[in-house]
């Protein structure tokens, strides 16, 4: 015998202004099966919830309808309250008389009638509700971090500190990312590698962190807590365990190749480590340039290696791992000078990107920190820094702001002036975005104390005129054209998503926007979660951001991972599809329509083990309760618990029939 309690909320004036809640609750009280119908100002408040809990106990309620806001707001609140009072939480339903009634109508009489109808529908549904149990799924206590820059490194360290083993996956030969290429960082002017390498070493020495470099994600299967990943390890041609990092091979290697780490300004060998502090400190062979691979010659490295660690016949290997959670920290890429026609399409050697400038001033850079013009090696006396190159340019490149350029340009003017004391540093800017801690003070320091000269206007063109570079800019504040003869021009080019990110996102089943930046589940309240359970996001993979923000997010994502993997089992919503096996004909309609691949066929065998028939079978771990399978079944053998045909039919009848 149904004993339903109905609670109609005023929601202050949000509902009560348009819906006569008292009349509604009085009308509902007359429905057979309703033993209690009352109204209250703010049901979601503590006293409101207490009211519901007490009523459940006092009146022995078998079901509850809360008529208030959208279930997206407070369904978990009220269901928890019901559970605390001893009622199965799935026996509580909400009638949305706010977003779907009082907020969209203004005639009180009609709105009240609609509210009554909505509540009656839910009463009839609740009468047919069945108590459901949450689904419990096991959890693999291991995490995968994709991306070995500062963000990935921080996430790995934080997760490992919680006792959870971590695989740190990086596609370059070494971890470190872009931060390892920087000279000094804002706003402290810390030496970048000096603060990063301790963390890199910590990761390398941590017993719970396994670093896999020169490798990429091949495929992903499974679901939250139970991911199966395949990793493709590219052929390194050097045995990491046998190699001691002595460096004899790369010293003897005859082939010089443009170094990616030096941003094209220096050279490396065909067998190389990208930078001296690389981790792992073991070389790789670049098959595209190594003479052995291109023309079957040389092979010196193999001959001189004291531990016989060089193997030309290495093949890529695919390894399989099981993890419970994934953090994507794949970072960013920077636009190149060759992307900009008005600045020379990359043909002027002395027009460089900001990252190239970092390598030029860095003590471990191609000129060992001696600032030289790439064209003739002379010391540049006049350097022009151009901001917003490719950013804030929806017409030709990217509409967004790359966030860090205002700060690092101020920094770079200081790095320049510290090396060339009588140098002239000009900065062409549109705005100055310096909104972090001590950021504004840092930028003011650049212009007030360190001699940077800021000119407000964008640069229309840069060209070579004899030995000088001519920068044609503007100063909108004095309404002038400003032409500067410069020795070096540094372009603060836009940050963009890295190569291959869309393919990776598709393998992971996570979303991305038109620029390739990964999409978070909610931009304000779920900034480190993707919309796929178990996969978390951090750092510049989401959008341009600086190191403090990236590191914070890394820790945030790590906390989420630890929360997820701290239990031995994950509890999932009980709203899953179930199959009535006696009527299922295994037509596989449901298998085909399920967007999550949660349905497969199950064998039914007789006592001798012979296959009698097959039936559809739902994996409750993968099922998200979307209900797509239900209407696809011709024999009505699959139904969604919590939204069964019977329950929904009752709702419709309550509304449509007298």
């Amino acid at each position: 015998m149904a004993r339903i309690g109905v609670f109609v909320c005023w929601c202050g004036s949000n509902i009560a202004e348009t819906v006569d809640v008292v009349k509604a609750s009085e009308t509902i009280a007359k429905i057979p099966g309703v033993v209690l119908s009352t109204d209250y100002k703010y049901l979601c408040s503590d006293p409101g919830q207490d009211l519901v809990k007490q009523a459940i106990k006092d009146h022995n309620l078998t079901g509850v309808v809360v008529a208030s806001c959208s279930p997206r707001m407070h369904e978990p609140t009220f269901r928890k309250a019901a559970a605390q009072a001893g009622l199965n939480p799935y026996m509580l339903e909400m009638a949305n008389i706010r977003e779907q009634c009082s907020w969209v109508h203004d005639k009180k009489e009609d709105a009240t009638q609609k509210a009554i109808d909505l509540i009656r529908m839910m009463v009839e549904k609740v009468k047919r509700n069945k108590p459901l149990q949450n689904v419990k799924i096991p959890v693999t206590k291991k995490a995968l971090v994709i991306g070995g820059g500062v963000t990935g490194i921080q996430a790995a360290l934080d997760i490992a500190s919680g006792g959870i083993p971590v695989i740190l996956l990086e596609r370059e030969p070494s971890i470190g990312g872009h931060m390892s290429m920087l000279d000094e960082t804002f706003p402290t002017l810390d030496c970048s590698q000096c603060i990063l390498t301790p963390k890199m070493v910590e990761v390398a020495q941590h017993p719970l962190i396994q670093i896999i470099t020169y490798s990429e994600l091949e495929s992903l299967e499974g679901f939250v807590g139970n991911f199966k990943v395949k990793i493709r390890k590219k052929a390194r041609h050097v045995d990491i365990d046998a190699c001691t990092g002595c460096g004899t091979c790369w010293q003897k290697c005859p082939t010089k190749v443009t170094s990616e780490f030096e941003q094209g300004l220096g050279k490396r060998k065909a067998i190389y480590i990208p930078f001296p502090q690389a981790i792992p400190s073991r070389p790789v062979i670049d098959e595209d340039h190594c003479l052995k691979f291109t023309s079957n010659r040389c092979g010196i490295c193999e001959k001189v290696c004291p531990t016989k660690a060089v193997h030309f016949d290495d093949q890529p290997v695919i390894i399989e791992e099981e993890v419970g959670a994934i953090v994507v920290a794949t970072g960013y890429d920077l636009m190149k000078t060759s992307d900009f026609g008005e600045y020379g399409y990359g043909k002027y050697k002395d027009v460089v990107t900001s990252l190239q400038f970092e390598r030029m001033v860095c003590a471990s850079g191609p000129t060992l920190g001696d600032l030289q013009r790439p064209s003739d090696g002379k010391k540049p006396k006049t350097v022009v820094f151009v901001k917003c190159v490719g950013s804030r340019d929806p017409e030709h490149h990217y509409p967004y702001c790359s966030k860090i350029c205002c700060m690092y340009t101020a920094k770079q003017t200081m790095l320049f002036r510290h090396k060339v004391h009588d140098g002239n540093a000009y900065v062409f800017y549109i705005d100055i975005r310096s909104n972090g801690k001590n950021y504004e003070e840092f930028v003011r320091r650049a212009s007030e104390h360190e001699g940077a000269q800021y000119i407000r206007g964008r640069v229309s063109m840069v060209y070579q005129d004899g030995e000088d570079l001519v920068v044609e800019g503007a100063d909108t504040l004095t309404n002038s054209q400003v032409k500067i003869k410069a020795d070096l021009v540094v372009l603060a080019t836009a940050m963009k998503s890295p190569e291959g990110i869309k393919e990776l996102a598709q393998k992971l089943g996570i979303g991305y926007d038109q620029h390739g930046f990964l999409t978070e589940a909610h931009p304000k309240l779920k900034p480190v979660e993707s919309s796929t359970a178990g996969i978390f996001l951090a750092g510049c993979a989401l959008s341009p951001r600086d190191i403090p923000d990236s590191v914070s997010e890394a820790s945030g994502a790590a906390a989420k991972v630890m929360g997820l993997l701290s239990k031995s089992e994950l509890e999932k919503d009980g709203v899953v599809a179930t199959v009535r096996e006696c009527s299922c004909t295994a037509c596989q309609n449901c298998v085909k329509v399920c967007p999550f691949g949660a349905i497969s066929l199950k064998d039914i065998k007789d006592r001798q083990g012979n296959l009698i028939r097959q039936v559809a079978n739902v994996n409750p771990g993968l099922c998200t309760g979307c209900g797509t399978c239900t209407p696809s079944c011709p024999s009505r053998s699959i139904d969604l618990q919590g939204f069964t045909d019977e329950e929904l039919y009752a709702e419709i009848n309550a509304m449509a029939l007298l």
């Binding site: 640069v459 229309s460 044609e472 002038s480 054209q481």
Partner: protein
């Protein structure tokens, strides 16, 4: 310069008018100055291209219509091509000239002399009769001896036809008359 904005004023109105005439939205301009930076004629203008757009944003019609800048623009399109927001500054200059003409504002440069002379050549002959155009310009602008030395040089190089061609001139004249009548009524 003092700008007083009263309560019932709509600053955006002029920009909306320009949107119809110049087919571009001045609201998109965020005053980066790239147009000014690349403008080859900025050095002769009294207000720079980005400033012209700024005055349009503020609805300060008189300022722009009475400037020299809109008459000095040579329509090279460097500004519009490089504008990050896709504002057609060249189109705005063009539109402002037409508005100035319709409001009978005297242009601040000699361009009208050439344009008038050019137009009347097409009107008369259907094609441009260059000696007539130059002569007409010299007369209208008062620079009677301008480029006169080139005349014999061009003759020697046979780069001038002394006799104008009449090609579909009556049809062209009708087109002129109808267009002028219609544009006045727009």
């Amino acid at each position: 310069m003092q700008v007083n904005i009263n309560k019932d004023v709509n600053l955006l109105e002029f920009g909306e008018d320009l949107k119809q005439i110049a087919e571009t939205d001045v609201k998109k301009c965020y005053q980066c100055g790239k147009c000014t930076a690349g403008c080859p004629l900025n050095y002769l203008m009294d207000i720079s291209p980005s400033q012209v757009i700024r005055f349009c944003q503020l609805g300060m019609k008189e300022k722009v219509l009475n400037s020299r800048s809109i008459w000095y623009c040579i329509f090279c399109d460097t500004c519009s091509t490089r504008c990050p927001q896709g504002v057609d500054i060249k189109g705005v200059m063009d539109g402002l000239r037409r508005i100035a003409r319709s409001e009978k504002i005297k242009p601040k440069a000699d361009v009208r002399a050439l344009e008038k002379s050019f137009a009347s050549s097409i009107y008369s002959f259907g094609r441009v009769y260059e000696p007539g155009v130059v002569a007409g310009f010299n007369l209208l602008s008062g620079k009677l001896l301008h480029d006169v030395i080139l005349f014999p040089l061009l003759l020697i190089k046979r780069k001038i036809c002394l006799i104008p061609h009449f090609v579909r001139s009556s049809e062209v004249r009708k087109v002129f008359k109808r267009a002028r009548k219609k544009e006045r009524s727009i």
